[in-house]
């Protein structure tokens, strides 16, 4: 395992691939890998790409990776597709849209199945991202499963979150609903050559304007005129990040340089404003909480026999015991001094 990690850090692609498999399948391996690599994972820019199925996420990732390579950055890609809730099988088809990237040693693509997680990523995604970050990739693009309205886990994994919309996916009311649009650092209207794309861009811009604290009214010109994105000074208004709406045609590469400019502006904004640390803190908080819960649950399984837990569940179902008292009893059992060692 140590040898595998050392080889992965040195950039050995076979080792990176094998390490990811270990991390994905085995909690202990994930722990060892993350423990070893963690201190070196702070340099990579993690960019999340989410949006509804068919909005063009994979094609956009392909186009983004090409543009990032043009800027001489090493790009790791993690693409998550759903597992079947019935058989546990999965069809991972994101590579189909990423054929242009084949043969480039500066790119590493890994497909993951969601394996029952509902937030748009798989349980192991964050550890897999750390393997790529720790193996020296400058940018890690994380593509979620096709997301509907509430799959927002990506915002806790990525530094910069892109939400992809395509024209004709709903009216203005969709754009002011809570959920996925709120996590966007950059909104992308892909398939920007399709009819209705102007309207989609407009309704997203209107949505941003409706945010009373967004400050976009004061920067009216900026949101409306995407051409200004090439002016770096303009990207750093004093009162926070202004979510831009970027129009792209990923199949043609249109709008991609501007989109990568916006991503890099967001990175500079995070660094210069100090929000980087804030986001890392929030991400770390969530991660610790998540790991702690998992640890406590597995500890509980060991501390209280499954048959006893089952008996308690039956007692609750039959109204002999209420759920709060059941939790009190389980918690007391799990935290006895002799089981804590």
């Amino acid at each position: 395992m140590d040898e595998l990690i050392a080889k992965a850090q040195a950039g050995n692609r076979r080792a990176i691939a094998r390490l990811i498999t270990r991390v994905e399948n085995d909690e202990e391996a994930a722990k060892t890998a993350v423990t070893t690599l963690y201190s070196q994972t702070g340099q990579s820019h993690i960019v999340g790409i989410t949006g509804s199925p068919g909005s063009g996420k994979s094609t956009l990732v392909n186009a983004l990776a090409k543009e990032l390579r043009r800027r001489d950055l090493q790009v790791g890609i993690v693409a998550v597709d759903p597992s079947s809730p019935f058989t546990g099988g999965a069809l991972l088809g994101d590579r189909v849209r990423m054929q242009d990237l084949a043969g480039d040693k500066g790119i590493f693509i890994r497909s993951l199945a969601s394996r029952g997680s509902l937030g748009g990523l798989s349980r192991a995604t964050s550890a897999v991202v750390k393997v790529l970050a720790g193996s020296g990739f400058d940018v890690v693009l994380v593509e979620t499963v096709g997301a509907g309205q509430a799959e927002v886990d990506i915002a806790n994994t990525a530094h910069t979150t892109l939400v992809i919309e395509a024209p004709g996916m709903g009216d203005d009311i969709q754009s002011i609903k809570a959920g996925i649009l709120e996590i966007a650092d950059i909104l992308v209207v892909n398939k920007g050559d399709r009819p209705g794309s102007n309207r989609t861009v407009r309704s997203l811009q209107t949505m941003l304007h409706l945010n009373p604290e967004g400050g976009t009214m004061r920067h009216h010109g900026r949101v409306m005129q995407m051409a200004k994105n090439d002016d770096p000074a303009y990207e750093l208004p004093e009162d926070g990040w202004q979510v831009p709406v970027q129009r792209t045609v990923a199949t043609e590469g249109d709008g991609l340089p501007e989109l990568v400019d916006a991503i890099q502006s967001h990175w500079r904004y995070l660094q210069e404003s100090g929000e980087w640390l804030e986001r890392e803190k929030e991400r770390s908080r969530q991660e610790i909480e998540h790991l702690l819960k998992a640890r406590f649950m597995s500890h509980l399984q060991k501390a209280v026999a499954a048959s006893e837990q089952e008996a308690m569940v039956t007692a609750v179902a039959e109204r002999e015991l209420d759920p709060y008292t059941a939790v009190d009893q389980l918690f007391a059992r799990a935290t006895l001094p002799e089981v804590m060692d």
Partner: protein
């Protein structure tokens, strides 16, 4: 490691554009509980070998209907060997004349399944190749 899924690469090397068969196989393996990475059409041997490496698959399935299998398969096997992946079983499907099968097996191909092969046989052969090997 009990929840370990079998990961399969389903690839279409070469220039024929008929991927119905590959998609049927991919779907079938998915329904058998495997994680199937599908590459899409017109892959070069390099692309297939590189995808197998990055995805760290347990099995590679190739679908070839162009008749070029005697050119494509040896190259893919060679590249996989270079990548230290010669222990990964390779299955072949599509239009493969019976006369070519012994030669392909000699190259290290684990199984050849043409039209009419039963899905249960394919799944069983893959499971055996992965767990037995």
């Amino acid at each position: 490691m009990s929840d370990r899924k079998i990961r399969v690469l389903v690839a279409k090397p070469g220039l024929d554009g008929h991927d119905r068969g590959a998609k049927v196989i991919a779907r079938m393996l998915r329904d058998a509980g495997m994680e199937v990475v599908y590459t899409g059409l017109r892959q070069t041997p390099q692309m297939v070998a590189e995808a197998a490496l990055q995805e760290d698959v347990d099995v590679v399935g190739l679908s070839i209907l162009s008749g070029a299998h005697m050119a494509l398969v040896p190259r893919i096997m060679e590249l996989m060997k270079e990548n230290d992946m010669e222990d990964v079983p390779v299955f072949l499907g599509g239009i493969i004349p019976d006369d070519d099968v012994p030669g392909l097996k000699e190259l290290g191909v684990t199984g050849v399944f043409g039209p009419g092969a039963h899905s249960a046989d394919i799944v069983a052969a893959i499971e055996e190749a992965v767990t037995g090997g």
